[in-house]
Every structure is written in structure tokens, then in C-alpha cells.
């Protein structure tokens, strides 16, 4: 059996070698993509461009405006006296939020009446809007508490009797002391880079093999293969082997890039990472090969491979958004997405220092998917002419 796998593998390796441009792209592209995206994509939202409409023009509204401007989360672009022109600012996307202090705001605060500040948000990017909204609410909650404290201070100074108890600074408060584990600076690079490794490798693996068998059918060389004494599993293994080697090389480069260029900590077990990567590669390569076997057409196989690997790896794997906040039905779908298990493992191995003891359930499931996909390849590969 080995004797028959080797020539097939060697032939496939020759195909790869003879096309230096594709080989260069196959090896260079994953690294390039990880560097580019790791550098360019950040989910950290700071410096949200805002405008203030101050219709009140009092010391209080100016103080609040100054606090907004001083916050690192906002970039106060301009302060207007009237709301005219606000529409245009939002339409053109020059600011993402507008804070409006209505006329009589300070008077209402002093008179203990309903005093509200209007906040207009550009909701077209819902994530940015949600986070910007959070920052604004936080800031104004703090300002409201400060206001009350100042009021209490004045009350304490003014009244002689009960004043001692409500002296300035003596007010109850709850102070959350937030500590963030595994990624204390909330650096999105540490979160994105391990995920990128998985997404890039999934897509590369899927498309690498998607043409392999279809090409043989299209160019007619499949008939020669059929005429020989090889069996289906030998063809499948022979076709996979060279790409598996290529994939491992890509992975090693991508992991090195992540740790050296971006300083993502690799805290866990390296052997565990290697085993997990191998299982994941087999899944990706197997999916590409299966498409190639079923479709027998290069265009179709390639387009399907992109569609079946890129989007699920992006969207259904927990790469960008947590799986737990997806609807139940979609959550169920994610169980068949190999990237889901790999991303969980890679993040754990990189950031949390996971080893085999922590990742074995994911590893088993991933290996299970790989076996099913490869078995399907062998079953569907018909070595006869019809």
C-alpha cells in the first residue's frame, strides 16, 4: 500500500513544485494575511468621534462637555450652539455620536426636575454604536454621582445639625475593582491573532486540495490513474500527504509570526498545538478534497470551497463574536464547524496555557470530523469511468 501511495504523493508534490508562483503564494499568503489583519484589525473602540450641541450654555453644560472632551474614549470634534446641521454630520459619518444639552438643562438639575441629555448615535455599525453608548452612559452616570456628592457637600456645610453625618466625601458608593484575566490590557491582538491562525488555515487548506482531483478529471489524467492498480484510499492519502506537509509548514510560519511579530504569548503545550493543528488540517484538506471528488469541476469546487470554509470559519466559529450569543439554532450548526473547536483550542493553548488535559473533548470531536470527512472522500472516489 505504501508503495502505491508514495508515487501519487510524489506526483502531487511535483505539481506543487512546478508552479512556483502558487507555491510562493501558498506559503507566503497565510503569513502575510496574519500580519496584515493582526495589524489592521482591532476591535478596540477608542476615540469615537463626537459632537456636542450645547443649547444650555451654562457652567454645568460646559463642565460636562469638558469631561467628554477629556475622556480618552471620545474625540470631541466640535461644539455647536444649535442642532442645525447635526443631520449632515451624522449622514456624512464625520461623527458617530452627538450629545445634546437642551435649553434649561442646568435649571432642571437645580430645580430637581426631569433633566435629560439627548444622545444621537449612528447605528449603522451596531457594534461601535453599542460600545460608544456604553462609554457615554458610564461617563454620565459618574458625573451624576459627582453632582450628588457636591450637593451633599453643600448641604453638609450649610446645615449645622445633621451636617456632620453628610459631610463632603462621606457618601456610600460601590466601586467595582475590575481585573481582567488572561489578557489584562484587553488587547484585541491577543484575541484576534490566534483566531486568525485558524481562519486563514481553514481557508487555505480547503482551497489547496479543492482543485486536485477535479483537475485530473478535467484534463483527462484521471483515466490513467484508473487504469492503474491503485485503490481509493491510496489515492486519497497520496493526494493529501503533500498538502498536509505544506499545511504544517504554513501553520508553523503563522504561529511564529503571531508570537514574534505580535508578541502573543504562547503559554500552553506545543505538542498539543501540533496535534490539534494536524487534526484541523486534515479536516480542512479533507473538505477541499471531498468537494473536488464530488464536483469533478475546478471552478465549482473552488467556489464551493471558498464559500464553505471562509464564511463559517469567520462567522460560526466564535472568531469575531461569541457563539454563546448566537441564536440556539445557529449554535447547533456550529457543532459541525471544525474551526469552532480549533479556535477554542488555539486560544486556550495560547492565552490560558491549556494542554491535552483541557482540550481533549474538542480534540476528539475534531478528530471525529476528520475521520468522517476522509471516509466520505474514500467512499465517494469512484475509480471507474462512467
Amino acid at each position: 500500500m505504501i508503495r502505491r501511495i508514495t508515487p501519487i504523493a510524489r506526483k502531487e508534490a511535483l505539481h506543487i513544485r512546478r508552479d512556483p508562483r502558487s507555491l510562493f503564494l501558498a506559503i507566503g499568503l497565510p503569513m502575510f494575511l496574519v500580519v496584515l489583519f493582526g495589524y489592521a484589525i482591532t476591535l478596540d473602540i477608542t476615540h469615537v468621534a463626537i459632537a456636542v450641541v450645547d443649547q444650555d450654555r451654562t457652567a454645568l453644560s460646559r463642565e460636562f462637555t469638558a469631561k467628554l472632551g477629556a475622556s480618552a474614549y471620545f474625540d470631541l470634534k466640535l461644539t455647536l450652539d444649535t442642532p442645525a446641521g447635526v443631520d449632515r454630520l451624522l449622514d456624512e459619518g464625520r461623527v458617530k455620536a452627538v450629545v445634546v444639552f437642551p435649553t434649561g438643562f442646568a435649571r432642571d438639575v437645580a430645580g430637581r426636575r426631569d433633566a435629560s441629555i439627548q444622545v444621537l448615535l449612528d447605528g449603522s455599525n451596531n457594534n461601535t454604536a453599542l460600545i460608544a453608548m456604553g462609554y457615554i452612559s458610564r461617563l454620565f452616570q459618574k458625573l451624576a454621582t459627582d453632582l450628588l456628592a457636591a450637593e451633599a457637600g453643600r448641604a453638609g456645610a450649610g446645615s449645622a445639625g445633621g451636617g456632620a453625618a453628610i459631610a463632603a466625601g462621606h457618601l456610600p458608593s460601590v466601586d467595582p475593582r475590575i481585573r481582567v484575566w488572561y489578557n489584562p490590557d484587553l488587547n484585541s491582538t491577543d484575541f484576534i491573532v490566534p483566531g486568525l491562525v485558524a481562519v486563514v488555515m481553514m481557508v487555505m487548506a480547503g482551497i489547496l486540495t479543492s482543485l486536485s482531483v477535479a483537475r485530473e478529471w478535467e484534463t483527462g489524467t484521471m483515466e490513467q490513474l484508473i487504469a492503474g492498480p491503485v485503490r481509493a484510499h491510496e489515492v486519497v492519502l497520496g493526494k493529501l500527504l503533500p498538502y498536509f506537509g505544506l499545511g504544517l509548514a504554513q501553520l508553523a510560519l503563522v504561529v511564529l509570526t503571531g508570537t514574534l511579530v505580535f508578541g502573543v504569548p504562547l503559554r500552553g503545550n506545543l505538542l498539543c498545538l501540533l496535534v490539534a493543528s494536524s487534526a484541523f488540517l486534515l479536516c480542512g484538506l479533507g473538505i477541499g478534497l471531498l468537494l473536488s471528488i464530488i464536483t469533478r469541476a475546478q471552478q465549482l469546487a473552488f467556489t464551493l470551497a471558498i464559500l464553505l470554509t471562509l464564511l463559517p470559519a469567520f462567522l460560526l466559529s466564535g472568531f469575531m463574536t461569541p457563539i454563546s450569543s448566537m441564536p440556539r439554532l445557529i449554535q447547533a450548526v456550529t457543532y459541525v464547524i471544525p474551526a469552532r473547536y480549533f479556535i477554542a483550542m488555539v486560544r486556550g493553548i495560547f492565552l490560558k496555557g491549556y494542554g491535552f488535559a483541557d482540550v481533549w473533548p474538542e480534540l476528539l470531536l475534531l478528530a471525529g470530523i476528520a475521520v468522517v470527512v476522509l471516509a466520505a472522500c474514500i467512499r465517494r472516489l469512484r475509480l471507474r469511468l462512467d
Binding site: L25, F32, A40, A115, L120, S124, N127, I136, P176
Partner: protein, 371 residues
């Protein structure tokens, strides 16, 4: 000329659709993508799993925890007895956040002091952690306000509150952000990747030579080869917009005609790029790798999925050269904001110039390669 173009067009359609399975990537995939994008990518983070260690057990500590549950964002899934039991829960990812309320929590509040609460977050997912952090600060500040109001014995009147109004996408639905992305993605795949592969295929199979020796002129060949993909791309734009409207209520606030005109300009670009790749590739696998190498960065640096303003300045400058950035912005703003040429003219000018230049240059190169 039209006769010849029509003949090639017919041949292309027959070839493309003879394999009925092509319907899958061409027409079914866009719809599936749209539905997945719309439903799966739920950025609004709710039901944050929380472990609470309440060492105080007073009315105040319970009220504080209750405030989180009532906010609708948190769900208490574990109540470990001691602080050290929190570690394994976070490590295993069973909970996303943990609160430790110390024994003196209630006493400090009664004594009008600042009561500390330890909050531990799982930072692996930095985006979620940021949002959780916001919620924790917000709910705590609200709680503090209530405590102060109680301590001062006053009414809550006059405490500034904020009144948010969200424009363009009041319910903050992800689908509204994603639909323009799906339109761009699908146009990339149908008009760019498939054009590059279709022409390279003729070269690989040797049928391009037959076309060369026939009396067809090269521009007729180019038109005949690219038009089918342009038509399919157009159909897909309409399909995705219709489904977006039916399934997710994605509005079309601007002019549809303007949107389709801009789609045409964008398709010129992608067809031109596809044509160009076909002139530098001998085999379909080369065409595939080259097309893919262009497509991935173009998609990621387009602002379709992640905002451009958070990218480093140099990368932001680079994105201006990306036709996808301009087209993505145009589609999004026509649909959501109802903007027209008055607001969008810089992007429009770039897209038209880039489209015309790419298509003409690629056609000239293709023409030369044929001789």
C-alpha cells in the same frame, strides 16, 4: 458586432449553466450567506454568565447582585462558596465574569464609605470583555446613585439622565450592517473569481486558440466572456436586497437606480481585475491562488466587516486605493442613510475612474496576449 457578442454570450451561459450545480454558488449561496450573517453575528451581548461569591450576605449585597440580574444582561450561573473556587470556572470558560463581594460590603455602605467589589473578567475575548466592563461600571454607578439618593433622603429628580436615539438602525440589528457586506462579497466571487477562472480555463483546455483563429475580434471576445458574469452579479445584487428586505427588514432609503449604476461601476473593476489575472495565469490553479491573494486583503481592508477608523493610520490611507472600500460605503449609505451623489461623489468618482481604468488596461493587455 452584436451578433458575435450574442453568440459568445450564449455559449458562455450554456457552458456556465450546463452544470446545474453552478446554481448553488451563484444564486443559493448569497441567500444562505445573508441569512447566516444576519442571524449568527449577534453583537448584542446578553446572558453574560456570572459567578457570584457573596461573602457579605446583607440586604445591600443582595440588592447589588439583583441590580445586575434585573439589567437583563447578566445571568448568575454559579455561586461558589469561596473566592478560590472562581479560578477553575473562569479557566474552563464556564463563566465569563465573577463577582466577589467582601464581608464588609454592607457595613461600608451603612457607614457611608466606598464599598469595593472584586470583578474578574475573562479577557480572552477582548470585545466581549469591553462590553461587560461597560455594563459593570454602568450598573454599579446606577446602584451608587440609588444609595446616595437614599442616604440624602431626597427624590431622584434633577439627576441628569441620558436619552439615547439611534439613527439609521434603531434596533441595532446586525443584518443591516451586514447586507452591504454580502453584496460586495458575492460580487467579488461571481464577477472577479469566476471571470478569472473561466478565461484561464479556455487557455488550459486549449480552446482559447480556437477562438483566436476564428474571425472574432478581441473586444467582442472580452464582452462576450465578461457580460454573463456581470449579468449574474446584477441579479445577485437584486436577490440579496430583496431577501434582506423580506427577512430582516433591511431598508432601501436611497435610489435603487443609483445603487445599480454604482454596482455597474464596481463590476467593471472586478471584471477588469479578473481579466488581468487571466492574462498572467496559465492554469486554473494559478488563477485561483492569484485571485484569492487579491480578494482576501481587499475584503478585510474594506471596512465591510470591521470599521476602518480603528485601523492604524497607514493602513487607513491604503484603504483609499481599495475599490471595495468605496463600493461598500456607497452601498451601505444608500441603503441605510438614503445618501445620494451629493454626499457620495468622492467615492463615486474614484470607483468610476478606477473601474474604467482597470477594465481598459486589462482589455488592452488581454488583446496583446492574444496576438
Amino acid at each position: 458586432m452584436f451578433g458575435v457578442v450574442r453568440t459568445i454570450l450564449r455559449k458562455e451561459f450554456i457552458q456556465l449553466l450546463r452544470d446545474k450545480r453552478m446554481i448553488l454558488p451563484l444564486f443559493i449561496a448569497p441567500v444562505i450567506q445573508l441569512i447566516l450573517f444576519g442571524f449568527a453575528v449577534n453583537i448584542d451581548i446578553k446572558d453574560i454568565t456570572l459567578a457570584v461569591v457573596d461573602q457579605d450576605r446583607t440586604a445591600d449585597s443582595r440588592a447589588y447582585i439583583e441590580a445586575f440580574v434585573r439589567s437583563g444582561y447578566f445571568e448568575i450561573t454559579a455561586r461558589p462558596a469561596a473566592e478560590r473556587d472562581v479560578d477553575p470556572l473562569l479557566a474552563a470558560g464556564t463563566v465569563q465574569a465573577a463577582f466577589v463581594l467582601p464581608v464588609d460590603f454592607g457595613r461600608k455602605i451603612a457607614g457611608r464609605e466606598a464599598a469595593d467589589v472584586q470583578v474578574i473578567l475573562d479577557g480572552t475575548d477582548s470585545n466581549t470583555a469591553t462590553i461587560i466592563q461597560n455594563y459593570v461600571e454602568m450598573v454599579s454607578a446606577q446602584f451608587t446613585t440609588r444609595l446616595v439618593v437614599r442616604a440624602l433622603g431626597r427624590t431622584p429628580g434633577g439627576i441628569p439622565s441620558i436619552e439615547p436615539r439611534i439613527w439609521y438602525n434603531p434596533e441595532l440589528k446586525t443584518a443591516l450592517w451586514m447586507v452591504p457586506g454580502v453584496i460586495c462579497m458575492i460580487l467579488m466571487v461571481t464577477t472577479f473569481v469566476l471571470t478569472a477562472m473561466a478565461i484561464t480555463r479556455e487557455r488550459e483546455m486549449g480552446t482559447l486558440e480556437q477562438l483566436i483563429v476564428s474571425p472574432i475580434r478581441s473586444y467582442e471576445l472580452i464582452l462576450g466572456k465578461t457580460l454573463p458574469f456581470a449579468m449574474i452579479g446584477f441579479l445577485d445584487v437584486i436577490l440579496v436586497m430583496t431577501f434582506g428586505r423580506i427577512v430582516f427588514g433591511v431598508p432601501v432609503r436611497g435610489s435603487v437606480a443609483y445603487l445599480l449604476a454604482m454596482a455597474l461601476a464596481f463590476i467593471l473593476t472586478t471584471l477588469g481585475l479578473g481579466l488581468f489575472i487571466s492574462t498572467v495565469s496559465r492554469t486554473q490553479s494559478q488563477a485561483m491562488m492569484s485571485a484569492f491573494s487579491f480578494m482576501m486583503p481587499a475584503i478585510m481592508l474594506s471596512g465591510i466587516f470591521t470599521p476602518i477608523d480603528t485601523m492604524p493610520k497607514i493602513v487607513q490611507a491604503l484603504t483609499y486605493l481599495n475599490p471595495l472600500r468605496h463600493f461598500g460605503k456607497i452601498v451601505r449609505e444608500i441603503l441605510l442613510k438614503g445618501n445620494g451623489p451629493a454626499e457620495l461623489w468622492p467615492d463615486m468618482v474614484f470607483l468610476l475612474a478606477f473601474g474604467a481604468a482597470t477594465f481598459i488596461l486589462a482589455s488592452l493587455r488581454f488583446h496583446k496576449r492574444l496576438e
